[in-house]
Amino acid sequence: MTIGSAAVAHNRRHVGLKVGKTMSNDETLEAIPADWLAEFEAAARRPLKLRMKYAFIHTYKPVLDDAPYRSFETMAEYRKWCNENLPDWLGYGSI
């Protein structure tokens, strides 16, 4: 379980939103868990500057934060590096 997954698990009483599924607007909103919907609506009432203040946090991430610069020729190389070098709990590894 990674950071934030506990909150996601808490919200798993969700009927499932599928890409391309045809639903009316009301049905669509009803399909969203009430606590998520409340969070979306609260965020919509806040100005962008305030939303960003709440959204961006900094916590030290081992390995990832230990070099001032990295670059990868391809995304596949980057994913491979993440899989091989980062702690699993950071969640950067491919499934």
């Binding site: 990674t2 950071i3 934030g4 997954s5 996601v8 919200n11 798993r12 969700h14 939103l17 890409v19 607007n25 669509t28 909103l29 399909a31 969203i32 868990p33 998520w36 919907l37 969070e39 979306f40 609260a42 965020a43 919509a44 962008l48 500057k49 939303r51 960003m52 203040k53 709440y54 959204a55 961006f56 946090i57 900094h58 916590t59 991430k61 934060d65 070099a67 001032p68 610069y69 990295r70 670059s71 990868f72 020729e73 391809t74 995304m75 190389e77 980057y78 994913r79 993440c82 699993d88 950071l90 969640g91 950067y92 590894g93 491919s94 499934i95």
Partner: protein, 156 residues
């Protein structure tokens, strides 16, 4: 390194505009600009891969205060697929070829402007996370898809 701030997003927007850099906010930072309530650590930018845009980007990064050596500047000019910068006033990930998005041009045509910030469409942010298929993305996708439904409903 302190957390990324609105003021720094403004600096990116203004300096990139001054240099004519073609880019989009992507990833969770892009979703947050679109109104998605969540937390993240740094800004992710999807940058058009071209010689001219690379030159403009390098100039803009220097102006923002990123300390790029010759090799790092060459990486930016070439548009290596993924560049992680922690050698400037804030952390920045530059992505020239995000998973799940075919071309920059297509993403550009679908961009959303929020207070002057060019942001990748939520469909493409989600497609990118689906294609990356990382554990941390898998855990957040369900909520992000729910937000897309809400966001679609709210848009004029």
């Amino acid at each position: 390194m302190a957390a990324f701030e609105y003021r720094q997003a403004e600096e990116i927007r203004d300096v990139f505009a001054l240099h004519g850099v073609r880019y989009l906010f992507i990833g969770k930072s892009g979703a947050i600009l679109l109104g998605y309530p969540d937390t993240t650590q740094d800004a992710d930018l999807f940058v058009e891969k071209s010689q001219l845009n690379g030159e403009r980007l390098a100039a803009a990064l220097h102006q923002l205060g990123f300390d790029l050596n010759t090799q790092q500047e060459a990486d930016v000019l070439r548009g290596r697929d993924f560049i992680q910068l922690k050698n400037g006033p804030f952390d920045l990930d530059l992505i020239f070829a995000p998973d799940g998005i075919e071309t920059f041009e297509h993403a550009w045509t679908r961009r959303i402007e929020i207070e002057g910030f060019p942001v990748c469409h939520l469909d493409q942010i989600i497609a990118s996370k689906e294609a990356a298929n990382r554990k941390k993305d898998r855990e957040s996708l369900e909520r992000l898809r729910a937000f897309r439904e809400y966001w679609r409903r709210q848009r004029p």
